[in-house]
Every structure is written in C-alpha cells, then in structure tokens.
Amino acid sequence: MRDAFWNGIAALMVVTGPAMAQDLAFPPGKDARFNWDAYEALKATDLSEQSMTLLGPWLGPDKDLVESVVAYFEAATGADVQYSGSDSFEQQIVIDAEAGSPPDVAVFPQPGLAADLARKGHLRPLGEDIAAWLAENYAAGQSWADLGSYEGPDGARHFYAFPFKADLKSLVWYVPENFEDAGYEVPRTMEELKALTEQIAADGEVPWCIGLGSGGATGWPATDWVEDLMLRLNTPEEYDAWVGNTLKFDDPKVIAAIEEFGWFARNDAFVAGGARAVASTDFRDSPKGLFAAPPQCYMHRQASFIPSFFPEGTVIGQDADFFYFPAFAEKDLGQPVLGAGTMFAALTDNPVAAEFIRFLQSPIAHEVWMAQSGFLTPHKGVNAELYGDPTLKKMGEILLGATTFRFDGSDLMPGAIGAGAFWTGMVDYAGGKKAAAVGAGIQKTWDTLN
C-alpha cells in the first residue's frame, strides 16, 4: 500500500517532469550546441518553495523573451521568479526603492540610474569575484566590469550591477539593392562615408534619414551620434574624460564632435525633409524613408534594435542590411564601437537574487536568448553558432572585434545631463543653435550639479 503510494508520486513526477521541460524554449539536452552542462550544474542548487521578484523595462515580445530565459532558472532550481515589466521603469524603481518595497532584482537600461541608487544605498554589492569573472569572460571585460561598479553609500566603489544583454549602436542601416541601383559602395572609412554622402547629394538624392523625436525623450538619437563621433575623433581616454566631465562639454574637442554631427544633420541636402525635419521626425518613423520608392534616403544610423520599426515583412540581410559606422582612416584610433547594456542589480538580500545573478554568468542564460532574437552578448564562453539569425551573428562579430568598446556616454552621465540637458541641447543644435553655445549650456547645467 505504502509502496503503491510512493509509486504514484513517482509516476506523477515523471508526468510533471517533461511537462515542465516543454515550457522551456529549447528542451534541455536536445540541441548539442547549447551548454547543457551549465544547466545541469544549476540543478545542484535547490531553491524550491522560494521566490523572487524581477522588475525590468521589457514589455511585449521582449517580456516573453526574458521570461523564456528565466524559465530555465526556475526549472533547474525550482525557484519561482515573478517578472514584471514597466514602461516607466525609471520612475517605478525610484519610487519602489525609496518607499521600501523594492523588487529583489531590477534590470537597469541605463547604468546612470543604477549608480545613483547604489550611492543612496539601495543596491546590494554583488561581490568583487563577479567583477573579476567579467573581466575574464567578457570581451573587453574590464570595461563591462567598470560599467557595473559604482560608489556605494560609504563612498567606496563596489561591483553592483551585472551586465547582461548588449546593444550595438555603431551601425548604419541601408538597403543593399538601392545601393546597387545607384552604384554606391559600402564605405569602409569615415572619409569614404562622407564622400558617399556628398556624392548621393550631388546625384540629387538624399543620403540620410535622421529623426530625433521620441516623445518625452526627444533628442537621444543625436547623443548617440555625438558619442560615436567622439570615439572617432578622440582617444578612448578622452571619451572617458568627457563622460566623467573632466573634459568639459564646451571643450573644442566636444564642440568638434557636435559640429561633425552637424555636418550630416544640419545640411538641407543631406537629410530627408531638410535640416529642420531632424528634430521633429520621430525616430520610429525615420527609418521608413529607406524603404520608400524612390528612396527618401539611403542611410540611417541607429542601434541594433531598429529593425522592429522597419516596414512589416522586411527581411534583414536581404531587403535591408547594415554596416559598421566607420572610423577615420587618417586618425589611428582603431575600430571603436559604441554600445549599451542592460544591468541586473540586486536590491534585497534574498538568496534567490544572488543565485539568479550567478545564473546569468552561465553560458546557457545567454544562449537561450541569443538563439531566439534581439540579443547580443560579449560573453566569450557562449557558442556563437547559436545566434538566431545571421544579422545577430554579424553584429556579434562587430562586438567581439572591437578594438575599443565604449558605452553610451549619455547613459553614464548624471541623469540631469544624459537624460536631460544633453538631449535638449542636441534638439536646440539641430534647430540651428551654435554648437559652442549648446556645449556651454550643457556644461553650465553640469556645473550646477553637486
């Protein structure tokens, strides 16, 4: 009788076991390209009956993707992870942390905000061993580790946030067949890119689509431009100095980068709709000009996420493609790449949170997402064969091949600058204000910050 009871339990477990595995995007053990060892190793940690909350900015399809990754953690450890997404993440994390009801783990789209919460004592240090691991296992690892290290409430630097999921910003999107029709070549240096821009304009066509509109965040696409150009005009050290404001915003070097952006964006012949369309065109509508017939423009500089705003049915690699936003040949600055990353930080002492961060170190956490879509990782231990499509793979190659990798500077600057004065300043610049005046204005705001 007793045996029958236990057999029944065992039978139940057999039944529920595979059922759970079916919920996973890729059945464990099946596809040999994945690092299933990492998944199996995770099973040693038993967290059943325990739970944690995860708050992030991802909604819609992105939410399904992050949940598909989390599912592996849940399946292996038995823990219950409650993900909730918010489109006003920044505001919500601040309110929740201040009010004393923070999520266990939060996903920060901008390191600047994480740094601020760390300084106010809302984040829990993850341990320097993880920082050391990052330096070792991520491409350009030290810079990733630095990205997650902030001053704590005690004034000393600790490692607080784990970078997981990278975005690539130094990309120029184009329609290869439009290039073929017109006989244009993909430029390999900045000089060539500028020559191409002039040539397209001389042909009576419009080279660029640039849109800075983004509702409440209008202006940010221009900050990416300026950052990319900063990296192409100056050394990485100078870029870092600029982000840390030891190189001032009104420094000629910064003004030069802003003006370089102006070379592209403030020329009526170079941008679709003329220069004044730049600030008021929504960044989501802007790339559509590439696909018009005849094309409204030939090139669009934007980060790796932009294909979601291409017309329906556009096949990347066929109907549209991208090339690396090139560096000046005459300046010996290598191949700088601008990117961004989302940061996972723990806000409570919940042991599940610590385990979850450890899970993010395992290759399998990266592979599950990269095998689907929209995910880039600098993790060197993952199988690059798993990238869901050739586009991601190509981006992954740019990421791994970077001689200099720098993060979106506006994300690292204080919020009042990086999510404020810099945006508005660039909008003013696109509207015709002088670069020197814009730089001076931003610097003035920065000076008032304590």
């Binding site: 600047g112 601020d116 008021s280 065109t281 009042a416 008032t448």
Partner: protein, 331 residues
C-alpha cells in the same frame, strides 16, 4: 469571481461604513446631548459645535494623510540635498532663481494661466448654451465631452496626427500641415516653432477641458429659474442680452468654480507637455520640470521638491480669493 466579491464587498463596506459613521455619530451626539428637555438649548449648542467636525472628519483625515503629509514631506526635502541627507537651507531655491529652464517654465505657465482657463470656460459656456437649445444636444454634448474620456497617451497620438511634420514634397500625415501645404505654404514644424508651439500645446488642453466646463456650466444654466428668463423676454431682451445680462450673472459663481478648477489643472499641467514635447523647443512647464528632477536619470529630490513648492505657492492668490468668498457667504 473572488475579486468581484472583494470589490463588491468593499463598496458595500465602504458605503455602509461611511453611512454608519455619519449616522451613528449623529445618533451618539443626539443621545449625549438630546435636543430636548430642560437643557435643550445648551445641548443643541454643544452638539452643533461638534457636529460639523463629524461631517468633515473623514475628509480631513484623508486630506491630511494623503495630501498634507506629502506636501510637508516635500517642503522638508526642498531644503535638503539631492538624496535628502543633508540640510542645505535655501540652496535649491537659489539655484531655481538662476536656472534658465525654470524661468522659461514660469513664463510659460503664466502664459498658460492667461489663455487656457479663459478659452476653456468660454468654449464650455458656448457649448453649454448651444447644446441646450438644439434637438441633438445630448449627442453634441457627448461629442464635445469625448476628449475628456481619452487618456493622455491617446491624446498624444491624436494630436500627433494634427501637428506631425513631414519634409516638403512628402505626403503630410499631420492635418495642420496638409491644410497649410494645400494653401501653397511650406510645411511647418509646429511643435518646434518658438512661442507658437506653446499655443499649439494649449489647444490640446483647451480641447480637453472644454468638456469639463460644458458639463458643469450646462447644469448651472439649467438651474436658472425660468421666471427670470421669461421676465427678460417680456421686457424685450434680445438673445444676446438674455444670455449675457440675465443668464451669465446668475451662474457667475459656477463660472468662477470652473475657472478656478481649470486654473489649477493648468498649474499642474504635465501630461500633455510630457507626451508631446517634453518641454523642448521652449515649451517647458513647472510640473514637467519637477518630474524631470524627481524621476529622470539621477533624481534630485531637493530641486524637484523646491519646484513643487513653487507650484503650490502659485495657487495662493486663488486660495485667498476663496477664503474671502467663503467669508462673504457666511455673512
């Protein structure tokens, strides 16, 4: 299902709780100091001293907890540093005075205060008067009221289709530019036109608030005693005189209420600016500036709170005016 039960339960409990409180407290008062017997006079006096507080008690409690407490909290934060750790005195206010964005916001807010309440009330009054006199009045009212029912995100999209800009030669998807180019003009970036863009944003709020003004004013217009209107007509008043000399003076109080309410909405205006320009191109307003400092990037509660205090200080004239009115009513 369980949740419906919970909701229904709350409504019942809430309603009963409120009624029980007011009724029970009244009963208690009447039992303690019965308004009859030898001490009736003294008892009524005593009970009447306490009774008002029974009536306003729950409201005062809520107001104190949910509004006064946060305000005091902000007042305190406004004299502290970014993380509310150290006392900095009036440093945040000093910073405000020197901040160009703050000056821009104050000026814009004043502009809004001049334009929006006046036009909203005017259109609301017009709509109320017109729709009360036509057969399809209820339908017309509903249509004018509709903008009030749309969330601000929806309103943002609606007006995108009005103000949107496309380069010359392209198909305009914004109505205003389509009309403008049809007149043979070059398309304009409406929301980026200095000074004018403020008015384009105001149009959105007027569009929304007219429904509010109309509903309140229409109720007031219908409350005007027929006799006064008939008497005026017998005296030979024409429709204009009837409206401005007879009707409007009688609902002056309601007009003031509508004006005040919309003025306060304007002081707090945030959503529209946030969604449509986020204060760029010289359209910043106080509430959005406050939001920027409180929640954007690295929040600075000190500065954010200082701006909040300024917003609240701006309402003082209206408060004083209301105190005087209340005193007059009492007399």
């Amino acid at each position: 299902m369980e949740q419906l039960g919970l909701a229904a339960g709350t409504i019942v409990a809430g309603v009963f709780g409120c009624v029980a409180w007011f009724w029970g407290a009244n009963l208690l008062l009447d039992t303690l100091w019965p308004p009859r017997g030898p001490d009736a006079g003294r008892n009524i006096l005593r009970a009447n001293m306490i009774r008002p507080w029974l009536f306003v008690g729950p409201a005062v409690l809520f107001l104190a907890l949910y509004l006064v407490y946060p305000v005091l909290n902000s007042a305190m934060r406004s004299v502290m540093d970014a993380g509310s750790r150290e006392f900095v005195g009036l440093e945040n206010y000093r910073w405000l005075l020197g901040d160009a964005k703050f000056r821009e916001s104050i000026l814009n807010n004043l502009l809004w205060l001049l334009v929006v309440p006046a036009l909203s009330t005017f259109f609301g009054l017009l709509a109320a008067q017109l729709t009360d006199r036509i057969g399809w009045g209820n339908l017309a009212k509903s249509l004018i009221f509709m903008p009030m029912a749309i969330s601000f995100v929806g309103a943002g999209v609606i007006w995108k289709f009005i103000y949107d800009y496309r380069g010359e030669g392209q198909d305009q998807i914004g109505l205003l530019n389509a009309l403008w180019t049809a007149l043979g003009q070059a398309p304009q970036t409406w929301l980026a036109l200095p000074l004018w863009n403020n008015f384009f944003l105001m149009a959105v709020l007027i569009w929304i608030q007219t429904g509010f003004a109309m509903v309140i004013l229409s109720a007031a217009l219908r409350g005007i005693p027929e006799e006064t209107v008939e008497a005026a007509i017998l005296d030979g008043a024409n429709p204009w005189q009837l409206f401005f000399r007879i009707k409007v003076p009688q609902i002056r109080g309601t007009i003031a209420v509508v004006w005040t309410t919309i003025t306060i909405v304007v002081l707090k205006v945030f959503d529209i600016v946030f969604v449509m320009t986020n204060g760029q191109w010289g359209t910043q307003v106080l509430a959005n500036l406050m939001y920027d400092w409180m929640f954007r990037g690295a929040p600075d509660y000190g500065r954010g709170s200082a701006i909040a205090i300024v917003i609240m200080a701006l309402v003082t004239p209206i408060m004083i005016w209301n105190i005087r009115n209340a005193r007059k009513e009492m007399a």
